[in-house]
């Protein structure tokens, strides 16, 4: 089990008020912002930016970077790891 990915899912569920969702409902490669995936919206995207700052001390200022990072739990965890190595 990838602890970072599990923690991300718990943090997303809590911060975004995804009340009826469990960690096991979010596949690592599911598209976060697709209706066929997790179904997040634009306000959720802003909350993810706040989450990155609050939990990982990462500031996201480049929208293109954010678009790639926020695709799925896999890409988000990759992004966090790469930023933490810098």
């Amino acid at each position: 089990m990838d602890e970072l990915k599990e923690n991300l899912k718990k943090q997303i569920i809590e911060q975004l008020n995804l009340e009826e969702m469990e960690v096991s409902d979010i596949a690592n490669d599911a598209a976060l912002f697709s209706a066929d995936g997790v179904g997040l919206d634009s306000i959720d995207a802003l909350e993810l930016i706040v989450l990155l700052e609050k939990h990982y001390q990462i500031s996201l200022t480049n929208p293109e970077e954010g678009k790639k990072a926020f695709y799925s739990i896999d890409t988000l965890s990759e992004f966090i790891r790469s930023r933490q190595l810098q």
């Binding site: 008020n17 995804l18 009826e20 306000i43 959720d44 802003l46 909350e47």
Partner: protein, 206 residues
């Protein structure tokens, strides 16, 4: 002659009433809060409910109750045929306070709270849920005023707009005043509407 109130829904702390009749009572021994109990009773399958603030949740639940228990006119209406006229006293003050807390205590403002720091957002939530794209108005008044709804309803009702969904939805810490009613273009004498509001079970606090 006046336009006619045709149905009422009230959420009180102890019960939900449709046209003055109790359809659901608060369960003290439940682990769920009152709004969650109502949501589970209705089973609307709408997870976005949990992202809403209390004001939007109150309006959402009242309209879902109306649709479930007495909503024939709403269920058959087209996108433009429903207009929304709402009002309250305290605007979005509870959410405003939570938003201030989010940056004063937690250091960062919450986007998901910010979007609810205007009371008329509940009209957006109702419109999105029900695909109602007609006219909508939200006013902040010192007290409930039936003639505000009647006068605006008379202006809006025509061949295209066939039902007005009206609401007084006021939420403060520990206190809620929630009344939703429909108005249609049927002539009725003035006393009828006063009686419908009195019989709805709504408890006036001001």
């Amino acid at each position: 002659m006046n336009v006619k109130i045709t149905s009422t829904v009230v959420i009180r702390p102890d019960a939900c009433l449709v046209n003055g009749e109790i359809v659901l009572s608060f369960q003290e021994n439940s682990d769920d809060g009152w709004f969650r109990q109502i949501y589970r009773f209705l089973q609307p399958d709408y997870p976005k409910f949990y992202k809403m603030d209390q004001l939007s949740q109150a309006a959402f639940l009242t309209v879902e109750l109306l649709k479930k228990e007495a909503g024939n006119v709403l269920m058959t209406s087209s996108e433009e045929s429903v207009a929304l006229i709402f009002a309250n006293r305290e605007s979005s003050s509870v959410t405003d306070s939570l938003f201030i807390d989010s940056y004063q205590r937690n250091g960062s403002p919450s986007p998901s709270l910010f979007v609810y720091t205007l009371p008329n957002i509940l009209l957006g939530e109702l419109s999105i849920r029900n695909k109602w794209y007609g006219e909508n108005i939200f006013a902040v008044f010192p007290k409930f005023a039936l003639d505000y709804y009647e006068k605006n309803a008379r202006i809006l009702l025509d061949d295209q707009v066939t039902v007005i969904l009206c609401g007084w939805v006021n939420v403060t810490e520990g206190k809620q005043e929630i009344l939703v009613f429909t108005i249609e273009n049927e002539p009725v004498d003035d006393a009828w509407n006063q009686l419908m509001v009195q019989r709805s079970g709504f408890e006036f606090t001001a």
